[in-house]
Subunit: 467 residues, 3 copies
Amino acid sequence: MERPRHQGMAKNTYMRWRLPLVCLLWEVAMIVLFGVFVRFSPEADAHWEEEKRDMNLTSDMENDFYFRYPSFQDVHVMIFVGFGFLMTFLKRYGFGAVGFNFLLAAFGIQWALLMQGWFHSFKSGKILIGVENLINADFCVGSVCIAFGAILGKTSPIQLLVMTLFQVTLFAVNEYILLNLLHVKDAGGSMTIHTFGAYFGLTVTRILYRPNLEQSKDKQGSVYHSDLFAMIGTLYLWMYWPSFNSAISDHGDAQHRAAINTYCSLAACVLTTMAFSSMLQKKGKLDMVHIQNATLAGGVAVGTSAEMMLTPYGSLIVGFICGIVSTVGYVYLTPFLESRLHIQDTCGIHNLHAMPGLIGGIVGAITAAAATEDVYGKEGFIKAFDFTGEYKTRTPSVQGGFQAAGIVVSLLMAFAGGAIVGAILKLPVWGDAAAENCFEDDIYWEVPEDEESDAYHMHNPDKPASP
Amino acid sequence: MERPRHQGMAKNTYMRWRLPLVCLLWEVAMIVLFGVFVRFSPEADAHWEEEKRDMNLTSDMENDFYFRYPSFQDVHVMIFVGFGFLMTFLKRYGFGAVGFNFLLAAFGIQWALLMQGWFHSFKSGKILIGVENLINADFCVGSVCIAFGAILGKTSPIQLLVMTLFQVTLFAVNEYILLNLLHVKDAGGSMTIHTFGAYFGLTVTRILYRPNLEQSKDKQGSVYHSDLFAMIGTLYLWMYWPSFNSAISDHGDAQHRAAINTYCSLAACVLTTMAFSSMLQKKGKLDMVHIQNATLAGGVAVGTSAEMMLTPYGSLIVGFICGIVSTVGYVYLTPFLESRLHIQDTCGIHNLHAMPGLIGGIVGAITAAAATEDVYGKEGFIKAFDFTGEYKTRTPSVQGGFQAAGIVVSLLMAFAGGAIVGAILKLPVWGDAAAENCFEDDIYWEVPEDEESDAYHMHNPDKPASP
Amino acid sequence: MERPRHQGMAKNTYMRWRLPLVCLLWEVAMIVLFGVFVRFSPEADAHWEEEKRDMNLTSDMENDFYFRYPSFQDVHVMIFVGFGFLMTFLKRYGFGAVGFNFLLAAFGIQWALLMQGWFHSFKSGKILIGVENLINADFCVGSVCIAFGAILGKTSPIQLLVMTLFQVTLFAVNEYILLNLLHVKDAGGSMTIHTFGAYFGLTVTRILYRPNLEQSKDKQGSVYHSDLFAMIGTLYLWMYWPSFNSAISDHGDAQHRAAINTYCSLAACVLTTMAFSSMLQKKGKLDMVHIQNATLAGGVAVGTSAEMMLTPYGSLIVGFICGIVSTVGYVYLTPFLESRLHIQDTCGIHNLHAMPGLIGGIVGAITAAAATEDVYGKEGFIKAFDFTGEYKTRTPSVQGGFQAAGIVVSLLMAFAGGAIVGAILKLPVWGDAAAENCFEDDIYWEVPEDEESDAYHMHNPDKPASP
C-alpha cells in the first residue's frame, strides 16, 4: 500500500540501480587497491616470531594489539552504535540514522585505511596495517559521522557515499598537514576530527540549503521511545570517550592520563548541561536534546589536551565551560544559524562538535604552550611532545603557535572542502528527496506496515487499525 | 499544550532556578577542591619514565592502566547504561530513569574521587588518582544508583543530588571502616556497595513514605517496549558483572578467579529465577520483573567471595540460592514491605541488592573463615587476605569474624545514614512531585508531544491524532 | 483480561510445573557435576604465585587472563545482547527472543564448561577452567543461539532447554573430532559453530514442520521499533566479531591478524548487502531484514581463516561474496526452502550462518592448502598450523584436505544430530504452542496490559483506551 502523501514526490528517489552501482563499484575499487597496497604490519604478520627476536622482545604482550585493542573496540562501538543511535531521535528516521551511518562508516573505514596508510604507514610500496590503523580509520570515519549529523534526513545514501569518499580524502590530507608538517599533537582529534568534521558538514548543509524544509517540520521532532533509543547512543559515546581520547596516545602514562582527563571533563559537562537546560527554559524542564548532545561536549573539548598534563581540575573546568556553551548553542544559536545563515543543522553539530572542537584546539594550544620540564619531567617533556629529531629545539610556546595554526588549517580545509563537496552533492543526479519527504524512512527503506497499531488497539475490536 | 491532569498539582515542582543553582554550586565546589587536592598518580603522570626506572620496570605493560582499564570500562557501562536502562521499565519515566541516573552518577563520581581519595590515596597533601580510583568512584556511585532504585519516580533531581552528596560521603566512611580498620576483604562490594546502598535507600524511601501513592498506580507498570529497554540494562549488568567483581582484585590469579566465580554464579541464578518466576504464578507464565532483576542476584552475592577460592561449584550454589531468594522476594516480600512496613521500593532493590548483599557478606565471611594454606598455597594465602604487617598473625576464623562485623557496620551505617538523609530530603524545599504525579516524566522533562499517535494513525486520515 | 484469540488454544502450554522442574533438575545436576569435576586452572588458582615461579614468569601480565579477557567480554556481549536482540525483530516476541536466549545460554555455558572440559581440559580427574574455557563455552552456546534462530517463536522454553542439552553435547563431540582427531584449525568456528549450528537448527525445524503456520503470519513481521531493537543486536555482533574470531587464537600476531581480517571482511560485506538489498527489490528500497542479517555474513565466513595469512584484500573478497550470497538467500532461497522443503527458518539462519559457514570452511581449507613457509616464515608456519609432534610432517595441502573433511563431518553431525533431537522435541509433552499462537509472547510471558494505548491517546479523553 503506497502512502498517499508520497504521491506528490517531485524528485526521483528511485535507488534500484544507482545505489547498487555505487556500492559495488567502490567495493571493487577497494579490493583492487587493497590487493595492490595493503599488507599486515609486522605485529600482525606471521613473521612476528622473527620480529620479536629481532626487537629483543620477551613477551607477546609487547605486541601493540594488547595495548590498544580494548580501546579500539570502544571506539568501534562509538562510531557504529554511538553515532548511529544518537541520530535515531527523529521519530521516523531511525532506519536511516542507524542504517546509513552503518553504510557510510563501513565504506569509510576501508577508504581511510588506504588514504591514511599512504600518508603514514607506507613502506616499500606497501601499506602495513595493524590495530592502530584500524583505530585511525574509525577516527577518520568519525568525522564523516559528525558531518552526517548536519545533513541527517535530507540526503540520499548515494550522496552520503560520495561525501564519505571526498571527506575521508580531505581528512587524510588535513591530518597529514597537522601531524606531519606542523608537528601538532591531536590524539583525540579536537581539530582533525571534530573541528574539521563539523565545519565541513555545516558548509555542506549550507550549500544544500532547502528553503521549504518546514514542509517536513512535523517529522523533525522526536517521540518518547525514539528519545530513549538516542540515549543509547549518547551514553555509549559518553562512557567510551576516555577510550577515544587515549586510544592512540603513547603507551603507558599518556594513555592513562588521557583517559582520566576525559573522564573528569565529561563528568563536569553533565552538570552544567543539566543546569543550563533547565535554566534556559521557561518552565524549567530539562530538554532531552541537550542531555543527548551537550553532555558530550566535554569529551570533544579535551581531545587535543587529554594526553597532556591538563590535570583533573583543568579537565573539570573545560567540561564545565563546554556544557554551558553547547547548551546555550542549542537554545539560541541553532535557530539563528537556520534563520539568518541558512544553515540547517539537523543534529546541532555546531553545538556538539564545532564549538567544543574549537575550544579543544585552543585548550590544546594553551596547554602545550604552558608545558614545562618541571611539570613533565625531562624525559616526559620530550616524549609528550615528541621533541626529537628536527623538532629537538622546538619550545612549548612555539608548539602552542603551531597548535593554533592547526586550528586555522582545519577550518580552511573544512570550508573549502565542504564548499566543493556541497556543490557536487547539489547535482540533481543523486536521488535526494523533496523537502516534504525529508526525515522520512519510507523513501529509501521498506518500512513495516504499521501492524503496531493493531497491537495497540487489540482491545478495541470495533475500531479498525487501518482503513 | 499543558496536559489537564497536571492542573491539580499541589506541590511546586518548578526547577528553573533551584536545579541550576545546585548543579552549578556543586560543580564549582568540585573544581575548587580538585584544584587544591587532585593530581595524577605516578602511573598517569608524565614523570612515569623516571618512575619506571626507579621501580625497575621494563615494560609499559606494567602500568596499572593495562591491568584494569578494560574492567573499568565495563564497570562504567554498568553504572550508566546498566543501572540507567534497568530503571526504564516504567512506562512514562524513561527520561527520568536514564537521565537522573546520568546526573547523579556524573556528580557522584567526582565527589567520590575526593572522598575516597582523602581516605585511601592521600599523599603529601594531594590525592593521586589513577585508573583504580576511577573504578572505585564508579563503585561508590553504584551504591547511589541502587538507592535511587528504591525512590525511583518519587523524587526531584535536587533530592537526588542531595542524597548523592551525603551517600557518597557515608559510603567512603563505611568503606574506610571496613577495609582499613576492620581489614575486611570486599572487592566486589557485597557489603560496601550492595548491603549499604540498598538498606540506605530502603530507609530513605521509608522516611519519604507516601500514603497516597496509589493515585499514580496506573503509571507504576511497564509497557511492552519499556520492558525491552530495561532488558538492555539487565543484560549489560549481567554480562559485565564478572568485570565488576574482579576490577580491583589483585593482579593475576585473583582477577582471573573473581571473573570465573561471578560468571558461574550468574549462570546458575538465571535458571532458578526462571524456575521460580514460573512456579509462583498461577498461570505459570514468566514475569519480566523477575527476569530483569533476580537474574542479577548471583552477581551481588559473590561480591565479597569471588576473588577467594570459592570454587566454581560454590559459586553455582550461591547463584542457585539467590535466584530463588530474590524471586520469592519480588512475589511475597515487596508487597508485604509496602503494606505493613510502609517501604515503597519502586525497583525492588530489597530483593536484588539488600538480601543478596547480606548473603554475599555471609558467604564471604564463611569462605574467609574456611581458608587454609593447603587450598591457597603458603604465599597465596597471605596475598589473598593481605595477612601482612600488623595483620600477620590474623587467622582465617578471626578474619571471618571481622568479615561478619563488616556486615553489621554496613547495616548500621545504612540505617542511621538513611534516616538522617531521609529526614533532610523530607524538607519541603526540594521540589518533589505530588503523589498523583509520581512516575511521570512530564513534571521535570520536556516530553515530546505525542506525534507518535500521528504516525500510528496515518492510515486513518479522518481520525485526528490530537483533539 | 485474557485475549480472545487465545481461547482457541488446542495445546497445553501450561508451564507452571514443567519448566521449574526442568530448570531446577538441570541446575542441581550442574552443581553436582561441577562439585565433582570443576576446579580452577593454575592461572586462576591461588597457587599462581608458585606456578609463576615454576614457569619463570616475571609479570602477572603473562597470565592468560590479560591476553583474552577483553575479547571474552566482547564475545559474551555477542551471545547475550547480540543474538538476544537480533531476534527481537518480531513485533510480539521480544520477551521470548531476549528472555529465552538468556535462559538457554545461561544453562548452555555451564553444560559446555563440562562437556568441553572433559574433552580438552581434563587433568588428573578434574576439569581445570580459565578464561579460555569461558570463551569456548560462550562459543558452544553461540551454536545453540544460531539454531534457536530457526525455531524462534515456535517452541516452548522446555524444548529449548532440551535442545541445548543435546546440541552442546554434540557440539563438543564434533569439536573434538575436528580439533583433536582431524587436527583442523577453526578458531572463529566457521565449521564448528556456524555450519554445525545452522544445519542442526535447520534439520530440527524441518522435523518440527508446522503446516498451518500461516495462521500466525500476521505476527511474523516486525514493527518500526522492533526493527530498531534488532539493530542493537546486529551492530554488537558486527562490531565485536573481530574479537570473536581472534578470542582463542595464539597470543601475539595470530590474535592481531584475526581481528584485522574480520574487520575487513565485515566492512566489505555491508556494501554488497546494501547493494543487493536495493537491487533485488522492485522499488529499490532497502530491507531491514537484509541489513540486520546479511551484513554479518562476512564475519561468519572468515571464521576459519581469519587467523591465517588471508590478507586484508582476501578478507574483502570473502566479505564481498558473502554479502551477496546472504542477501540473495533471503530473497529467493528462504521462501523456496519453506514452500518446497518445508524448512521454516524464522530468522533465516540458512543465509546468515549455514551458507557463509560453508564458505568459511572452504576458504579456510584453501587458505591452509595455499600456505607456504615463505608467507608465514619458518617458525610462523609451524606455529600457525601447529605442525608439531605427530603432525610435524603434515603439508599444507594435506591440511587443506583435513580442513575440507572437517566441513563434511560437521554437516553429518548436524544432520544426524538435528534429526534425532528434532524427533525428541516432537514428543507432545514439551508444551509448545498451537500454530495460531506462534510468535506471541503472551503464551509464556506475563505481558503488560497495553496501557501504552492510554499514553498515546491521552489527548483524547473522550476515547477510552480499553473497552
